[in-house]
């Protein structure tokens, strides 16, 4: 295009144009592709038109370059300094707390903390020795901001303070074989052992074992290859089971309160359920790595819909694992939503494999088009709903 334009000019005009072109070129190099988070060109809605949209794919992050303002090679050359790129390798568990997203990266043996508000992405802890993770799978953050990481290589739960400083190890004295998920609620910490099919309920401060769930003499009330755990704002635990395709609800005492689902390929059924999350209205999100979708159920366990099915140019999932839901930073994410699509909450889903169209961390928004009555209103909010930004995690 430019050579075409130059080709039509005489030599004197070329002389005049050259400095202008140089300035233009430099300006391009300095500016880079400033400022915009990665996202699809046109909105990706679930369900797709002509149905009323309820969920929109907003953006995705696979490395820090997807998040921060990109700096061009030339501007870096001129301004000096280096840029450390953090790339998410093979993520699994995810949690969100006060606007930050915590991702277990099994490949890098790290927990990556993504801060959308400040456009930063860094490792939770880089101390050597006891703080080092080996195979972090599940993660949760308690109400004080302490981070609990279920590490299947360390065979314990590594606990870090709100500042990322390593505090202690938990769960080494439990009769466990494979802790792959953790969830925190008030004074409790729940740890999921997928091989034994048990949940250990501990005092999160003392580490004292309070209850072991999954030892009922009626085996139908126990778990079958549990693969993901979360706790809702009422303190009730949801655990997904690969063995029988069920999502079971237990109270802190271990009583089975409800269950739904089965193995299968119809809506509401699962093949390889993984992460699970419950929002403050009681809506349940279940990730299925087999169908590669997230299915959404209301608080009466009826299916409302699903999102992320492969085959789309953007917004599809690629071996999804953990999921977390939050209402934090809604204003920030609202800017990424399509005009008129009012967000009510944000959903983070990790994909184990990133690709040009699949991000390690995919961000979706639940909402509805203004002026339309949508699915997000299909169920009343629980009267005592509280923030439920807990995480779902499981076995890789």
């Amino acid at each position: 295009m430019m050579s075409g334009i130059l080709g039509t000019m005489n030599s004197s005009s070329v002389k005049k144009v050259k400095p202008f072109m140089l300035v233009l070129l430099l300006a391009c190099l300095f500016s880079g592709c400033a400022g915009k988070l990665a996202g699809p060109a046109s909105p990706v809605f679930f369900p797709p038109p002509p149905d009323d949209p309820h969920i929109q794919f907003l953006t995705g992050i696979s490395s820090s370059t997807d998040l921060a303002e990109k700096q061009s090679e030339m501007s870096r050359l001129l301004t000096g300094g280096s840029q450390t790129v953090i790339r998410i390798g093979k993520p699994y568990g995810v949690a969100t707390h006060k606007g930050k997203v915590y991702i277990c990266d099994i490949g890098a043996a790290q927990v990556v903390v993504v801060d959308f508000a400040n456009k930063t992405m860094k490792n939770l802890n880089e101390e050597p020795g006891a703080a080092e993770l080996k195979k972090p799978i599940g993660i949760t953050v308690d109400e004080d901001g302490n981070v609990y990481v279920a590490d299947n290589g360390r065979k314990d739960i590594a606990v870090y303070g709100p500042d990322g400083k390593y505090l202690r190890s938990m769960g080494r004295d439990l009769q466990h074989t494979s802790i792959i998920g953790v969830a925190a609620h008030k004074q409790y910490l729940m740890a999921l052992d997928n091989r034994q099919g048990k949940i250990f309920v501990m005092d999160r401060k003392s580490g004292e074992l309070l209850t072991t769930i999954g030892e009922n003499v009626d085996r139908t009330k126990n778990m079958a290859l549990p693969n993901g755990i979360t706790v809702d704002s009422n303190g009730n635990i949801r655990v997904v089971n690969m063995g029988n395709g069920k999502v079971k609800e237990y109270d802190i005492d271990g009583h089975l309160l409800s269950e739904f689902g089965q193995l299968g390929d119809r809506p509401g059924e699962f093949t390889r359920p993984r992460g699970v999350a419950v929002d403050e209205s009681g809506q349940i999100y279940v990730v299925d790595a087999g169908h590669q979708v997230v299915q959404v159920f209301n608080n009466e366990r009826r299916i409302l819909g699903y999102f992320g099915k492969p085959g789309l140019p953007a917004g599809s999932l690629n071996l999804p694992a953990g999921i977390a839901v939050t209402k934090d930073n809604l204003d920030l994410f609202q800017k990424m939503a399509a005009p008129g699509f009012k967000l009510e909450e944000v959903i983070f889903v990790v994909n184990q494999y990133a690709s040009p169209i699949n991000f390690s961390l995919a961000v979706y928004g639940l909402g509805e088009m203004e002026g339309k009555k949508g699915a997000s209103k299909e169920q009343p909010a629980k009267k005592d709903g509280k923030t439920a930004d807990k995480a779902a995690k499981g076995k890789p």
């Binding site: 109270d251 005492d253 009583h255 309160l257």
Partner: protein
């Protein structure tokens, strides 16, 4: 020449005018047309003795036996139009006016009643000569229709409104019912059809077999719109008595406007206690709830808010005591899922599901759920054996005075400590319980 012709014509006209005056005066004498002079309200030309505008002499001789020497100046309504122009141009025109049958109602020479009518204020005879009289003989009649003042609401000639009304239905009604209009404007709650619709949505403006000339009896009239309530009342085992008694809905609700939500005459609890605050309601009499509440330290949550209908359905229910959910009528019924929904739809729904718990109740010894022990095991003691549903002087709605057990009031003897409590009722010996350090019972 032209001037001469004009003068002669003018003189001829003057002569004719003088002659006609003389004619009018001579028409109404004691011998001729005597009835006309006796009319109390003569038609204006008659009063002035001016017969010529209407009657034109065609034969010189008058009277002619067996013949006519006068004819009308024009036919039908055209005769009246010369003076009474402009009638019948509005949207709705009374049929006789449209057909120019003025004499269908009016007497052309005059009458003993005003407006050249043969009838006075009671127009019923005149109107019923064409209109069906049956609807005006209903048991309950609207005042104007009862006394034949049809013209109070209807214009006999023409109107811009349907049914020849003198204004819109609301305007016509509120012109008389001005006191109602004023009170409605100051009311906190107005029934939407009263606020927005014509009064004729509910009332027959002439009369009906139903009191207040309603279009249908209560509660059918109300149920016509409030279908959900109608369904409840029709299908429930026990409808609330006032709904199916005389007066129906109006026993509790005002049909037009009210001070309180739900078109109630006062706040919800005030309306309920209007009946349920007496000792003589029903046979045997229902409990006097006002007495139950009076001076009590602790009121059940909904009662604190004056919300009786949080637990009871004021229209009717399938459940005991018009409750909104299932609750056993007998004193002893062991818990089953769903059986105690009336209480558990607000209170912890898992309260009675598990023998051991750390979360669903504080009434436990260690983790042993003592609610479970009382309500699920063996006999199944209903909530009301220990808890008062409305008010008590003790904590947790446990009555300090004891609970009625036939003729005896069972003392409860309940006390709490920081980590538990004790109970020394008329049911068993004193037992303590402790959530942290479980008591061991011998």
């Amino acid at each position: 020449m032209k001037m001469l012709s004009f003068v002669s014509t003018a003189l001829a006209g003057l002569a004719l005018f003088c002659c006609n005056q003389a004619l009018g005066a001579s028409c109404v004498t004691t011998e001729c047309h005597p009835g006309i002079s006796a009319l109390k309200y003569p038609h204006a030309p008659v009063k002035e003795g001016d017969c010529a505008p209407c009657h034109t002499q065609t034969v010189k001789e008058h009277p002619v036996k067996g013949g006519k020497s006068f004819q009308l100046a024009a036919k039908g309504g055209d005769l009246c139009k010369d003076c009474h122009d402009g009638i019948g141009k509005k949207k709705v025109v009374h049929a006789p006016v449209q057909e120019a049958e003025c004499t269908g109602c009016h007497k052309p020479h005059g009458s003993n009643e005003s407006f050249l009518l043969e009838v006075g204020e009671d127009r019923s005879q005149l109107c019923f000569s064409c209109h069906e009289s049956a609807p005006f003989k209903a048991k309950f009649m609207h005042g104007p229709a009862a006394v034949g003042s049809c013209n109070a609401c209807h214009d006999p000639h023409e109107s811009a409104e349907k049914a020849l009304l003198k204004g819109t239905v609301r305007e016509v009604c509120l012109k008389c019912h001005a006191d109602f209009d004023q009170a409605m404007k100051g009311a906190a709650v107005v029934h939407p059809p009263v606020r927005d619709d014509p009064c004729t949505a509910c009332h027959d403006p002439h009369g009906s077999p139903v009191v207040m000339f309603l279009k249908n009896k209560m509660p059918d009239l109300c149920i016509g719109c409030h279908k959900g309530i109608g369904k409840t009342v029709a299908n429930v085992k026990v409808p609330h008595k006032p709904v199916v008694s005389d007066g129906g809905c109006s026993n509790c609700h005002s049909a037009h406007y009210a001070k309180a939500k739900g078109l109630l005459a006062s706040d919800q609890m005030g309306v309920c206690l209007g009946c349920h605050g007496r000792d003589d309601l029903g046979t045997p009499p229902l409990k006097n709830i006002s007495k139950q509440l009076e001076g009590k330290k602790m009121l059940h949550g909904p009662i604190q808010k004056g919300d009786c209908k949080a637990c009871h359905d004021p229209h009717g229910s399938d459940y005991f005591r018009l409750l909104r959910g299932s609750y056993p009528a007998p004193l002893y019924v062991p818990y089953k899922d769903g059986l105690y929904d009336a209480c558990l739809k607000c209170h912890e729904k898992n309260l009675l599901r598990f023998a051991e718990t750390t979360i669903y109740t504080k009434f436990r010894n260690g983790n042993r759920n003592l609610h479970y022990v009382h309500v699920v095991n063996r006999k199944g003691r209903t909530c009301r054996i220990c808890h008062e549903p409305h008010a008590s002087n003790g904590d947790k709605l446990i009555s300090k005075e004891g609970t009625q057990f036939g003729d005896w009031k069972i003392p409860i003897g309940f006390a709490t400590t920081e980590t538990g409590g004790s109970c020394a009722p008329g049911c068993h010996r004193k037992f303590k319980y402790d959530r942290v350090k479980a008591e061991v019972y011998q």
